[in-house]
Subunit: 287 residues, 5 copies
């Protein structure tokens, strides 16, 4: 994620950022402009066509297309925001779990260290798991939980969570925590797995194939039939006009595609690295 | 579900996939084109009609129709996404339940195997139950839970869940788990039935009959009255124009119909087979 | 609710079903057509009026009206779908409660029968309570729970739920279930009353009076001022045009009214009878 | 709230109800009509102005304005409906709490009366608290809970809830209820305060000041610049046209303002008096 | 937050409030007006340009832009309202926690004072933490909880919540509260941290950078190409027209930016100071 000041209009308007759709779409915009120029030349200067402009058709279809693009934007944003909520829930759960353990476990007991390391490792593994996979060597080690332990299973976060559950269960068996405290700790514990499962769901399920296919076909149809009528009315002025319309419509689809899977390291992705650091700092303060 | 790269524009635009609405609607599009051609011939070449074009009416109605189609798209997508969430919840619950049982049950105890098989069977049965029904012979067997057992009731997932509850209750009666652990295990247990019930609800309740009826009538009215005015203004060019508008409007309804019931094996359905494999792999790693 | 195949376009387009808004609105459509004919005759043939067409005003207002009708559709559908979710929750709760009791209670104990009958009665009473009231004679009887018992209170479902709570409490007092099991059973028990309360809320609270009043006034204003301008441009062709626009706009309001209160026996109401049968079958299989 | 039959079209169209926005806005509509008449006279008969009509500008702005008004309508309705849900939750909670206490407390014990009176008082106090404040003399008295008791604190519902918690705690201390039953009763108890807090939130937080300001400014700008162009095209016919458009747009804002704070005694407010009576009847039947 | 009467139309229309977007945008509006004047002079009086007006393009793009602005408004408002809900939840939780502690702790016990001070401090620290940071000297002191204690950690609310958990745990260890009461108190305790985490999430995650960038670019493109066509049709009248359109579109973006981060002290921010006072008054009455 990029930090930015949303109130700095001039800077944003003239920004030409790496993640700007204008930059990304530049080849497409140039292609559409060239195509429109060719159509304008052929229709006006070769055939001297004079049929009537069909803006009414582009109005009708443009309306449906706009609404579909807003539907697309809404669903992509909702996925992005749900991903953010799930990572916010990681923050809340690890804080609450740490605060509860802090109250329950005696100061400087070995278990404090174990839980602190395991929870921080879980968040780190979750972050990497949602990208390209976990390098178990990057995980902090404590007691029996070394690289060999983390390697045992393919799903590293599950392996760590299994260790956390095991440690809690040991406390219970050794009567370091009571049954009531076990119940009190339970809601945070199961929430970690729920959150990670939610992120996997967002990552693995893009918008239905039929919508992705259909939206791109309609944008294509819309933009490539547009010059046919426009060049007669606007002559070569149709070139910037069609290029701008292509820029606006295609950008909405492109941004939606980018934020739909928000756990990577792109400019618009969620700041999971920073959230991980926050959790790490918090836990090291508390436990 | 089809795996695809949402960023590969050209491939998607020119795709002619089995699930593409363009392919599905081709006969309809051809019919609309032929009908428009006939209307154009009759009005322009037979009657030489010259009344004024009624695009204003199609604008007014087109606006309402577009908004209704977006309403349709939203509700269909929400059902699809809710279905995905319910299956994501199956993943989370089986992981959490397995992690908890892994911490509670001694290594290599017989109960580990029983629970692993029963939970995997439950998910398999849920998947098949939402399609054409469960073939009990395909379910894994363990201890007393054989084909005869699964056959006893018509609602196979309920039968398996009954066995899981019974096994948990036996653990409790034999004091292998305490009352506090029973409470801790409860939330995952009841969530399985809630999820399956949610899927059955989506499957059995399409959008109200009145909307389905009304939307199809309005699309029909809209497309079949369109050539009357258009052929006078656009002559034979009305043929591709009306065909495109039919393609766009009918596609939205067709996609909505397809994703509304997302538990089958169509191209846009949810990947319940893959999710089942994920759960199976996870459980075999944990328990 | 009507069972139907949403993919059977031709059948739906030419259906003239009892619940079809076209049938319901036929007198209104005829009236609007006649009124438009009279306006056309008076303006064109009597006064030979020639002022300019006001379609711009109908475009402006038509836009707001369309969006309000979509708002109306959304709220009505959400109420319908929330009603469906509440009934889905009845299914899930009764299954979960039955599965839990099946695991706890010994085979063939008298309590199994009591709970099965009381839960099925509760669902039946809830269904009837949301229609015209409960005929206590139709409720199954078991042990002390006979017609006289059900009659004691005006709110029959509350009376039955009181009995279920009492029975659970007796099990607890007689130490047939432990305190931990009491806690585990609690969430399903309180959910029944929550669901029924949710249904009563939907039934008793239509959309605010001001919206219902306002929407009907605007549709009326819109349709009855439309011919004034249209008959000059379209002559007698205005008759089908205005009639179609009236059909489309009024239908949306009429369907919204119908699905807003979804617990009756109308064509678009929820299939509460079928859901009741499902619950009954499930419980008879489990308990 | 007004009881009404949403299907009675004629009655609603010609209703001239006290709460009708048409009645409320009549002075405004008359003012707009007079202003348009003056503009028509000045432009057409004094200056004989002939510049071109600016309907394109009003189309552009009208579109944004319509969408903002629908946004306004949606948020106002959501608040109204959330208020209704919170009061529905009061119904559900008091029923569930009463049913649980009915099962736990022996018949005709003094505590039954105490709880019944306190819960009914709580709902009554909540209702009045959301209006102009609680008259403690109107609260029913029982045992130590007399007018002097209720007067002790400014926030009367909190005072009553404190008493309910105290009574439950006494039952627990005197071992009339077990710890498991305490846990089972807890969810209803804390829900009362959550619901009341939710209602206070809706009551005290109108839509952000900036939107309220902005929407009124845009409606004003829109309606008062409209005659400038319209009177040239429509002459004195502009008077009813502008008046109707003002009526439609201003009504949406006026209704949103009215339902935004739904706990009063206006025609469109929630029926909290009736809900209170329902709860009272239910509790007197159960406890 | 500003208190205001939403029904006072005249006052709001002519208000020129510090937070009014009209005031904020005045320099921009003046700039746009001057730019339009220059374009009008150059095109009409210098070049005597006569190409056709391109309002159709601005209609097409204006439509998409409007819908994106409404999407922007919706998301900003949802964040603002979610923030309000989280602070409402602070009110509910502190009331419920205080009511429960009031019932459990003996009158005038030292713990009452400790909890009252700590909870009030937590809310105060949360409020300041969401602004510029907590001045620990402003926190009330009680027993061992003095300035030095609060200073120990950078995240002051976590430090206070740690103390609250510790105090509850002490009560449990000293058997002043039972395990059942510990479970009953748990839900309020963990909710404080969840609420604060939710607020931090809203504060730290503005809408994706790509949308902020894109929306500002499209508004800029839209407004600065508008005069090119408009000045030919409307001459110098284009100056107020373009200025008004800029005012309307830019205002929506400006208001969304302002309410998106609602925890500051701006005019449209949430009244967290007042909510803090409410909680303080409530707790001092109850505990």
């Amino acid at each position: 994620m990029i930090g930015y000041n949303p109130k700095d209009w001039w800077k944003l308007i003239f920004a030409f950022h790496r993640s700007d759709t204008f930059r990304f779409l530049l080849p497409g915009i140039a292609g559409v402009a060239a195509y429109t120029g060719v159509v304008a030349y052929v229709e006006n200067d070769v055939f001297h066509a004079s049929f009537k402009n069909t803006t009414v058709v582009h109005s009708l279809v443009g309306f449906v297309l706009s609404m579909l693009l807003v539907f697309r934007t809404n669903t992509a944003y909702e996925r992005w925001w749900e991903g953010r909520k799930l990572w916010g829930s990681f923050v809340n759960n690890s804080r609450n779990l740490a605060l509860k353990l802090h109250a329950i476990l005696p100061k400087d007991s070995a278990e404090r260290e174990t839980f602190r390391v395991l929870i921080i490792n879980y968040i780190f593994a979750a972050k990497e798991h949602l990208r390209t996979g976990v390098h178990v060597k990057k995980l902090a080690q404590t007691g029996p939980y070394d690289t060999d332990f983390y390697k045992q299973k393919k799903h590293v976060p599950n392996q760590i969570m299994g260790a956390i559950y095991q440690e809690i269960n040991n406390l219970y068996h050794n009567q370091n925590i009571t049954g009531d405290q076990l119940i009190v700790l339970n809601s945070e514990l199961q929430s970690f797995t729920d959150n990670l499962g939610g992120c996997e769901r967002i990552k693995r399920t893009p918008i239905p194939y039929a919508y992705s296919l259909f939206l791109k076909k309609v944008i294509f149809l819309y933009v490539f039939t547009m010059p046919i009528g426009f060049v007669i009315e606007f002559k070569y002025w149709a070139i910037p006009i069609v290029a701008i319309i292509f820029y606006v419509f295609a950008s909405i689809e492109v941004i939606a595609e980018e934020i739909e899977d928000p756990f990577g390291t792109d400019a618009n992705d969620l700041p999971t690295d920073i959230i991980y650091e926050t959790i790490k700092d918090n836990l090291e303060e508390i436990l």
